[in-house]
């Protein structure tokens, strides 16, 4: 009983935040759909699901997301091995670079991709523009970093000795990987895959921009129904489909993730240099670098173009308010706003995420307790699977009366971004926390350490790197978040993606050049912050 109370106490804050800023707004919008004109009408919602178009849309969403997730895993897992278990020059820079796609606004990535694969682009001969293949490539571009970082964080501190023992007993590298390493990594891989799948299934800009409007996903359809047609019944029907699908996904992944004994020995030995046997990792990293690097290179070269020549004019213009004062604030000021918002979103999602991760990974003594923990675990993944417009409109109609009058609050933007980042944070922390042997905590406790001290001496040393990885994620998500932010942003303090969107949406060569230059600045800022975060090391922790 005391354990359950303690669990409830720890979970109370995250639950309250989720309840107010997610459950309430989303149910508000669903209610608008089900109670059309004041009468409860679930039949109309069911009718929407029977439409051939709806079924086509659902089918496309499922197969494109599955394919993109599979590709991201195939590339990401070997790349994670090379980038987190091997030592070579430029490793930190490469890891930072691979996180860049995460923060680039989709509208800019769309432009960069299409400049490469469009009819007039250098890869135009492939005929890739407007195909489903281009959509999948775009999804992988955005999400491969999730796999690399989440799996890498778990792999980094994995004890190498069992694998070495297996190898010395005569197992080949493939056999060692399949029988020793893979089972140990399974929780992290399944976690990453489920997050990537949710990101892909709710992708919005990529599907429209790269698919040439021939494809619709559930997310684009909800956007169209809500913002253009105001057909809330149909939107509610599709939102229900999203919610059910996510719930099913979460049940499946929690089964797959569960291993008989999650406890893992941790060690942080100095990684060896790259050897011949690492070719799968090298190949994967090369492929990822090409996939991520080409569009970024296209961006950089576009931003340096001035008329028919080259120059830095677009960058110099960033401190102004645009040609013809197209912007209310200089881009530099928007960058400051973005960074400050990202700091807020990061500490919010880290704080909440840590609480959630602790709650869901502690050993359960009874079945009810275990159920309660896994229910909580799933609950915090839901924000990833619900459309940003549903949430955005929901904010407006439900959070408008005291005591919950947050409609005009400056906090709404960082909170929304923190909610988007939260599942990533939890999924990065939980597998590692779950791998800590509970007996270590018991030993610490029996030696007289309080709960806090136990956490600091037992959990934190192992958690340190995953915490940094999670902080990086949250920061990057916040810097690049567009959907919810564009819905909530106030005009007097726009973030970078909003300003970039504004610039690229107006004619004039200068505006276009500035939009690309601003994207490069955003990307570079992210890369630098990531590099700095990775440098934050604690000597004592490293020696643990």
């Amino acid at each position: 009983m005391r354990r359950l109370l303690a669990l409830a106490g720890l979970a109370a804050v995250p639950l309250a935040v989720l309840g107010v800023f997610f459950v309430l707004p989303v149910s508000g919008m669903l209610a608008e759909g089900f109670w059309a004109d004041g009468t409860f009408d679930p039949g109309a919602v069911a009718e929407v699901l029977a439409r051939p178009r709806t079924q086509r849309v659902i089918w496309f969403t499922v197969w494109s997301s599955v394919l993109a997730t599979a590709c991201a895993l195939l590339l990401g897992v070997p790349a994670a091995h090379l980038l987190h278990r091997r030592r070579f020059r430029g490793r930190a820079a490469l890891r930072a670079l691979l996180l860049v796609p995460f923060v680039l606004p989709t509208v800019v990535v769309g432009v960069a991709f299409r400049e490469l694969i469009g009819e007039a682009g250098p890869l135009g001969f492939l005929g890739f523009d407007g195909s489903a293949g281009a959509i999948v490539a775009g999804l992988v571009f955005f999400n491969v970093a999730v796999v690399i970082r989440a799996v890498g964080a778990a792999w980094e501190s994995l004890d190498a000795r069992p694998a070495e023992a297996a190898a010395s007993l005569g197992a080949g590298p493939a056999r060692v990987f399949l029988t020793v390493t893979l089972p140990a990594l399974r929780p992290a891989i399944v976690s990453a895959a489920s997050v990537v799948f949710l990101f892909c299934a709710t992708a919005f800009g990529v599907v429209l921009t790269l698919g040439g409007l021939r494809y619709s996903s559930v997310e684009t359809e909800i956007y169209l129904l809500t913002t253009n047609l105001l057909d809330l019944q149909a939107a509610a029907a599709l939102s229900i489909v999203q919610l059910l699908a996510i719930t099913a996904l979460l049940v499946v992944t929690s089964r797959l993730r569960a291993v008989p004994d999650p406890t893992l020995a941790r060690s942080t030995a100095r990684p060896p240099r790259v050897a011949r046997g690492d070719w799968p990792g090298v190949l994967a990293v090369l492929l990822v670098v090409v996939l991520v690097g080409l569009p970024i290179a296209a961006l950089v070269s576009g931003s340096l173009q001035v008329g028919d020549g080259w120059g830095l004019d677009n960058y110099r213009a960033l401190t102004t308010e645009g040609s013809r004062q197209a912007l209310l604030v200089p881009v530099t000021q928007a960058l400051v706003t973005s960074l400050r918002t990202a700091v807020d979103a990061t500490w919010m999602s880290l704080g909440l995420g840590l609480l959630v991760a602790v709650v869901v990974t502690r050993r359960s003594r009874t079945r009810t307790e275990r159920r309660a923990r896994s229910l909580l675990d799933g609950l915090f993944m839901l924000p990833l699977g619900v459309s940003a417009v549903t949430l955005g409109f929901g904010f407006l109609i439900t959070l408008d009366e005291p005591p919950l009058d947050f409609r005009d609050s400056l906090l709404l933007v960082p909170i929304a971004q923190a909610l988007v980042a939260l599942p990533l944070v939890v999924r990065t922390l939980a597998p590692v926390l779950g791998g800590i042997d509970d007996r270590q905590r018991q030993a610490a406790a029996s030696l007289g350490a309080g709960p806090l001290r136990t956490f600091v001496t037992v959990d934190l040393p192992v958690m340190w790197k995953p915490l940094l990885a999670a902080a990086g994620f949250a920061f990057a998500v916040s810097l690049g978040e567009f959907g919810a932010t564009s819905f909530l942003a106030r005009d007097d303090n726009p973030t970078m993606p909003i300003v970039i969107f504004h610039l690229i949406g107006h004619p004039g060569a200068m505006n276009y050049g500035m939009a690309l230059a601003a994207s490069v600045v955003l990307a570079a800022t992210t890369a630098v912050v990531m590099l700095l975060v990775e440098r934050l090391r604690v000597p004592s922790v490293g020696a643990f």
Binding site: R53, V107, G110, V111, R114, E115, E119, G205, L208, T209, G212, L213, L224, T226, T227, N228, L229, L230, D231, G302, Q325, A326, L327, L328, T337, R340, T341, V343, T346, W347, V389, F393, L396, I397, E401, D408, L410, L411, P414, R453, V456, T457, W464, S486, L488, A489, R490, D491, I498, H502, I504, G505, P507, G508, Y512, G513, L536, V538, S540, V541
Partner: protein
């Protein structure tokens, strides 16, 4: 000791976080209590809204109210927000609902009647069907097919002039337009074709358009900046859907524009301002609508929002006066018909274009 050292960087992070955060700052806007005299006017608008700071200060000095701008989303998002929040409106004034969405907002009773005095020449932009004059036209911009004149001169090909030309095989694979379902100018172009070929004729026209190799994109920036030959990315299609003002932004070194708008292919979008029903500060709201219609804001519209003023007496910027020609007889569709058929038309359009 170890634990203390482990905590130090965390503490540093936490300190850095509080120093850089936005949370600590007060928002600066005081909430007026019930019954107190309102001190601010809240303008709800779309993300393209921009006014020079000087004009905002001018309004605040003239009226004594603080102007709070809440801008986000496009015209469709704005309209639907207003409809969904009409019981507890987001502000006092809405600006940016256009003639393709205005009927929905009017039918839902989002706006309170306020018959603002219109500037010279603005009467023609009134929304048909708005009997109470709840909406005041503030600006207009026409969506027109644009062509790259230099490309056609280089190829020795006659420049197309009409919608019919776009389905001529001579112009195969040359046209790019944003889609109607995802883009507001794209929707305006669909309406232009409905205005030209009738409610039963546009479907065949679009089928021929697609057969002639028309490329569809997600939004305006993709079509113009990536695929258009005169866009930022130097694409390979010399015919694009854009605005009547766009030629003013493609001026070459010799002082002439490299592009022009085809004035027989245009659909005019008019943006309206109106006082919201249930506004907390109706007097301030009316003052703001008047201000938007005043000569200073009207003159600033082209430079800050890329649109034409409704006030005929306002002098346009030089490039606009020279290169941005407005259509005299744009194609039209009744706003009520748009409100009624939008859903159906978009569905038919999606079917035709994804075949």
């Amino acid at each position: 000791m170890r634990s203390v050292r482990a905590c130090a960087p965390m503490l540093a992070l936490a300190l850095a976080a509080t120093a850089c955060s936005t949370v600590g700052e007060s928002s600066g806007s005081e909430e007026p209590g019930d019954g107190a005299t309102p001190t601010e006017v809240v303008l709800v608008t779309h993300e393209s809204f921009a006014l020079p700071k000087k004009l905002v200060r001018q309004f605040e000095e003239q009226t004594g109210y603080d102007l709070v701008v809440r801008a986000s989303g496009d015209a469709g998002v704005l309209t639907n927000k207003l409809v969904l929040t009409q019981d507890n409106p987001l502000g006092d004034v809405a600006f940016g609902v256009d003639n393709t969405f205005a009927s929905r907002a009017l039918d839902e009773g989002v706006f309170a009647p306020y018959d603002a005095p219109l500037p010279e020449g603005a009467e023609q932009y009134r929304l048909p069907g708005d009997e109470e004059n709840a909406l005041s036209p503030v600006d207009n911009a026409s969506v027109c097919v644009n062509v790259d004149d230099t490309w056609f001169a280089d190829q020795d090909l006659a420049v197309p002039t009409s919608l019919d030309d776009l389905v001529d095989p001579a112009y195969e694979d040359l046209f790019v337009t944003p889609g109607a379902a995802t883009s507001s100018p794209g929707m305006a172009f669909l309406l232009a074709t409905i205005g030209a070929y009738g409610e039963d004729g546009w479907q065949d026209y679009w089928a021929s358009l697609m057969d002639n190799g028309t490329q569809l994109t997600d939004g305006w920036s993709d079509a113009y900046q990536v695929d258009f030959t005169q866009g930022g990315g130097k694409g390979d299609r010399p015919i694009v859907l854009s605005y009547d003002s766009s030629p003013a932004f493609t001026i070459a070194e010799d002082g002439t524009s490299t592009t022009s708008a085809l004035l027989d292919t245009c659909f005019r979008q008019v943006e309206y301002a109106g006082v919201l029903a249930g506004a907390a500060n109706p007097e301030g709201a009316e003052a703001l609508v008047d201000f938007l219609l005043g000569p200073d804001v009207q003159a600033a519209l082209p430079e800050s929002m890329y649109v034409f003023p409704v006030d005929a007496s306002v002098e346009l910027p030089q490039e606009w006066a020279e290169f941005a020609e407005q259509p005299t007889e744009p194609l039209t569709v009744d706003p009520e018909a748009i409100a009624e058929n939008r859903d159906e038309w978009l569905r038919e359009w999606s079917d035709i274009t994804s075949r």
